[in-house]
Symmetry: C2
């Protein structure tokens, strides 16, 4: 039986995150680094050389050239958020499947334009939220879904913070209003909101209220913020994200019977193994001297990192479309859109003086 | 040199929590279980027999008899919150030092009556928040206070939940409007609010806003709730407490340079050792494959449990007043009062439809 040909990835742009995704594609068995385009040919060449592109890889001095290469199956799009709609729509029109960095757009209206372009061209769309593809994430979900071990979900707390440093706070695209206008909310809050949705089986909350102490830089870009999210059944989530606090990446999920804790959900402490803590019917001994049982640690080992699993999952979906006439998988753009809806709602609540914002799908 | 005589504790009431505090007093080197009073002499006798009171301990058929015993130095008061003001004021008038269960009162106005009675009678007042006395708590505070390891405090998340069970939800004093009307907020939220204050060096926030999904039982007592707290300098805290979720007792503190995580701050997993996780300037390696450095685990071992350390701290303060003419230590009623102020503010925010409540000291 002939082996299915590898899916060819073309990169448009050489952002920092593209270095990490290059390594991911190189490690993904069903994908291959095929092309990279930059506004500068020299930059593209240097990027390809430094990031494991094979000798025969195509190097282009423009993004358009990547899109026009008929051999490119997938476009990986790490450009600033303000450029997503333009380049994603163009890529879709060239029948390229799109792996899109997050936040997927500046707002859901823009993202809907991207979705429409992908749907009308029959191409797969997925965002670059790597932790969705770690097998630990599935293990955690199994726990949350187990009525005997976790019960009913009551509350979720998530966070993502890191101390960005002076250089980042001065020059990074994520603090520039014309590039990534959503700042910490788009870059970090995206993950927190995804975590809340993920825990809630992607049921949207009804109401979002921003915390009242967002921090902005001098040109009005968010450096830290948070929100509370309310579901119709009474569930509540809180999140906090910041460029101004030391690194945290926690999810705490509160269930009627069980509890989940994870401290490195976005990037595991170690690349080849990741853990979480689960507790069921925690109690104390008769004399109230200790917990019985105590939470248990669950370790998941991986052969290739979560970003390579992401690249491979995308390659698999594309191969299924390309070779088996499968339809694009709607799950991925659907959860991207829900996440963007919540990003928009937090932003709207901040802009409206921390008023409650109702979520309409 | 003669040994300082032990401080004699008299218990009024035989609540469940009194069993644990009996053991604490028995284990505290400077304290002795001296008397117990209940509305039923048989109940008092059975309690004394089952909880390590020495053979000569006094057993009384009323609370008043304990207060009238001139040998009693300290009254431990575990009665329902609605009875605190009455019995604490009476105990103070009899010159008894008071170890008062939390929540200290139904509201701060009541607690102010207790404080005034203690001050005018020159007696020590302290609440029964045990974790304040664990040496781990001091170690965590050292970390939070270290500008090089933790930097400036930006945010705090705390929680306390446990699944109360059918019997508790039906019959426990903590779900009865005439006994502990503050429900989960008074019983559990107390700890969360104390944790936020503790992390913030007892600086009160300016504004408190309750989460919008509190759960009440059929007679209007809170079974779960939460809030966001805002300080003048931009700090924010969130907390969540519930009788309806599996056990959690977390503090996450976000600093500009460091992060603190603790998962069992109220009752350590084990009685003789307790840990927390500290991280400073967490980063990732060049290829973004792992955390460098990872958080470190800090273990504190103890010879006697935190509740015995609490009883002993109280005995030490009382001995200093009794034998050395020291003044009562104001720190303890001051932090009790601040905690009660925040409890009141959360309750007020809930009662006013989740409006912001300004804190006035």
């Amino acid at each position: 039986m002939a082996e299915t040909p590898k899916i060819r990835f073309g990169f448009i742009g050489c952002a920092n995150i593209a270095r990490r995704v290059s390594r991911a594609v190189a490690l993904a068995p069903d994908a291959v680094l095929y092309a990279v385009g930059s506004r500068s040919l020299d930059k593209a060449r240097a990027f390809a050389g430094a990031n494991g592109f094979p000798a025969g890889a195509k190097v282009y001095g423009s993004y358009e050239a990547v899109l026009d290469d008929p051999e490119v199956d997938v476009v990986y799009l790490p450009l600033p958020t303000s450029l997503h709609v333009r380049w994603a729509v163009l890529a879709a029109s060239k029948k390229k499947h799109i792996l899109l960095e997050k936040p997927v757009a500046l707002n859901v209206a823009e993202f809907d334009v991207i979705i429409a372009a992908c749907e009308s061209n029959g191409v797969q769309l997925m965002d670059g939220t790597m932790w969705m593809h770690h097998p630990r994430t599935s293990k955690m979900k199994e726990f949350l879904s187990d009525v005997n071990r976790f019960g009913q979900l009551k509350s979720i707390h998530s966070n993502f913070t890191f101390t960005a440093g002076a250089e980042f706070l001065e020059n990074d695209i994520r603090v520039k209003p014309d590039l990534d206008a959503l700042g910490a909310l788009g870059d970090e809050g995206w993950y927190c909101l995804r975590a809340a949705l993920w825990a809630a089986d992607y049921e949207l909350p009804k109401t979002v209220i921003a915390l009242r102490n967002p921090e902005h830089n001098q040109v009005g870009v968010l450096l830290s913020c948070g929100a509370t999210l309310y579901w119709e059944d009474g569930k509540v989530a809180t999140f906090y994200c910041s460029f101004l606090s030391n690194t945290t990446m926690d999810i705490t999920a509160f269930g009627t019977k069980g509890t989940l804790h994870v401290h490195d959900y976005i990037l595991p402490y170690e690349e080849d193994e990741a853990s979480f803590y689960a507790a069921t019917e925690s109690g104390v001994d008769e004399a109230v001297t200790k917990w019985v049982p105590q939470p248990s640690k669950h370790i998941t080992k991986t052969d290739i990192p979560q970003e390579a699993l992401m690249a491979n999952e995308f390659a698999r979906l594309v191969a299924d479309i390309k070779f088996n006439n499968a339809k694009p998988e709607k799950k991925w753009p659907t959860i991207s859109r829900k996440t963007q809806l919540l990003v928009d709602a937090v932003k709207a609540s901040i802009d409206r003086g921390f008023e409650p914002v109702q979520i309409q799908e």
